[in-house]
């Protein structure tokens, strides 16, 4: 049986949702134009006035905001209200440049936590559940978001924060946690550690997990579900829009419902900025419809995904987004086909390889070439040449199926791909396309 936290809005008709969005966007654009000089300047430069925005159909007239704008406007440039009305900040880790600092009024916190509460209820949560939150608490939005959502649902909340796996497991077993919230990689690690300690999946009381904040594959979902004996649900969000809960998975486990009464989603062509029709793959853009303190309009997430309004088995009517398939800034166009490193990584993980790989794109005789170097684990190589070549060929076939174009795969010994500090260099593009 599907459960809803706010059934009237979560199952509202398309017309009702549209009416809410149209009303909110008119107010929101006016609010931003009056209070955020940075965005007012962008609108003026584009010749767009608040009166031009009469509903969500007019959102496409508004200028985009990008990560670069957030850097330029740091820290107060995009603030939409007096600091005296703000009660909280959250911040990104700043791994890809300057930190993003987002501000919240109490109204903003409430709507964020409501979104997280919808996600928890969609995963089967009720006030009888014990919800173990092992996302980090603090500046990171994961812990505070799910913590707030768990309170709203009325779960007994275990505010564990991340790390200290022995303690996580002790609380999980002693206090009969039924819902686990953390990153998918940490869920997988907890599963492994439980097995090492001799616990079977049926020894814990967990029934569901809400996992997000990093990319994960369907294979990883199945493996976590098995190791913990649960249903694993995806959750999506970013600090710029509030945090986790912008979109969440329901019992159908086939894409995440975007909370459309608060966030308007568009898919655009990352090259041209043109809005693409429903069902197209492109960059996800969010417009916050009713946030006060950090009201971003047309924020480019750089996540590539697909939106669908097909009827969902859970009864929710809000648009669904696919798992992000990559980042627009990672996208390569090879022989006219869009290719993401994440697709290649998915194939490698599916076929049992490590995610230690390097993609080399080049242009030979006016034709693009795609080479993928893949590190083998010591136990994966054979002393027989043909056996290794069979592995290369199998990977080439799997990648061609996934990408639509055929790469050349090269197997390498362990540790032959240079690790840089922090993030690995995944793509080397040798094409000189911009002389």
């Amino acid at each position: 049986m599907p459960n809803y936290y706010q059934p009237e809005i979560e199952t509202a008709s398309r017309e009702e949702i549209l009416a809410i969005q149209n009303e909110k966007i008119v107010k929101q654009v006016k609010h931003v134009y009056e209070n955020v000089k940075y965005y007012r300047d962008l609108m003026d430069a584009k010749g767009v006035k608040p009166e031009d925005i009469k509903g969500v159909d007019d959102i496409k007239k508004l200028p985009f905001l990008s990560k670069a704008d957030l850097r330029d406007a740091y820290p107060y440039g995009l603030l939409g209200t007096d600091l005296k009305n703000c009660v909280r900040i959250q911040s990104t880790s700043g791994t890809t440049g300057k930190r993003v600092v987002a501000f919240y009024t109490q109204h903003d916190i409430d709507l964020w936590e409501e979104c997280c509460a919808r996600a928890i209820v969609a995963a089967g949560g009720t006030n009888e559940d014990v919800c173990q939150v092992c996302y980090g608490y603090g500046l990171f939005t994961g812990g505070p978001g799910l913590n707030g959502g768990s309170h709203k649902v009325g779960c007994l909340t275990l505010p564990m924060s991340s790390g200290n796996t022995d303690r996580q497991i002790q609380f999980m077993m002693d206090l009969n946690a039924t819902i686990l919230c953390c990153t998918p990689s940490y869920a997988a690690y907890i599963g492994e550690t439980l097995a090492e300690k001799g616990f079977k999946p049926s020894d814990n009381k967990l029934k569901a997990g809400i996992f997000g904040a990093e990319p994960w594959t369907e294979e990883m979902r199945r493996s976590i579900e098995q190791s913990l004996g649960i249903k694993a649900y995806d959750i999506y969000g970013l600090t710029e829009t509030s945090g986790p809960g912008v979109a969440f998975e329901c019992c159908a486990q086939s894409g995440m419902h975007i909370n459309e009464d608060h966030f308007y989603a568009e898919i655009i062509d990352p090259e041209t900025g043109e809005v693409l029709p429903e069902g197209s793959k492109g960059e996800l853009v969010f417009t916050s419809l009713d946030k006060e303190a950090f009201p971003l309009l047309r924020y480019r997430t750089r996540d590539i995904c697909v939106l669908t309004r097909e009827k969902c088995a859970c009864g929710r009517t809000h648009v669904k987004m696919s798992k992000p398939m990559g980042r627009s800034d990672d996208m390569m166009i090879i022989r006219g086909v869009n290719v993401f490193p994440s697709q290649i990584e998915t194939v490698l993980l599916n076929e049992g390889y490590t995610p230690n790989y390097q993609i080399i794109v080049d242009r030979v005789n006016n034709s693009d070439t795609l080479d993928v170097n893949v590190e083998l684990l010591p136990e994966q190589f054979s002393d027989i040449v043909a056996e290794n070549q069979k592995k290369e060929h199998a990977l080439e076939v799997a990648m061609r199926t996934m990408l639509g174009i055929g790469p050349k795969v090269h197997l390498l010994p362990p540790h032959s791909i240079v690790r840089s500090e922090g993030k690995a260099v995944r793509v080397i593009d040798k094409r000189k396309l911009h002389d």
């Binding site: 684990l377 010591p378 002393d383 040449v385 290794n388």
Partner: protein
């Protein structure tokens, strides 16, 4: 008797083979026999050594190291000796993945190293045909 062969998976790149051999010499291991298979992307260095454990430890940082069982069969140093061994294996429908030959330092005997798809069966058949094969102890003492 099967013997142990050490295989190293190397990047097909200048200096990689030198690096691997240097690692072995640093461990004071003597190479009895070797064979290199090369492909576009990688090379496989296969070694019969005087001390497999030491060789493996020395090579572990240079590439992936694998220990497999191979057969080292003694041949008469005369025309037709290898052909005889291969015919015996062919008749028993044993597939040879690869092979290479070497000469024993002490006895100056001719040996062929065989990597086959069914080592125990190949051993039994060669033994029944009166063909001597080396053991790890024999290799060590060579």
């Amino acid at each position: 008797m099967a013997i142990q062969q050490i295989s190293v998976f190397l990047e097909n790149k200048e200096g990689k083979l030198a690096e691997a051999i240097k690692a072995i010499s640093g461990a004071n291991v003597n190479i009895r026999a070797l064979c290199v298979a090369d492909t576009r992307d990688f090379g496989i260095l296969r070694l019969i050594t005087s001390d497999n454990a030491a060789a493996k430890a020395a090579l572990i940082d240079t590439g992936a190291v694998l220990v497999t069982d191979v057969i080292a069969a003694k041949m008469e140093d005369s025309a037709g000796a290898l052909s005889k061994i291969l015919n015996i294996l062919a008749e028993a429908q044993i597939n040879i993945e690869y092979m290479y030959a070497f000469t024993g330092a002490a006895d100056l005997g001719a040996y062929v190293v065989l990597r086959v798809d069914n080592t125990p069966a190949a051993e039994a058949i060669l033994k029944a045909a009166g063909i001597a094969t080396l053991s790890d102890e024999d290799v060590k003492a060579m």
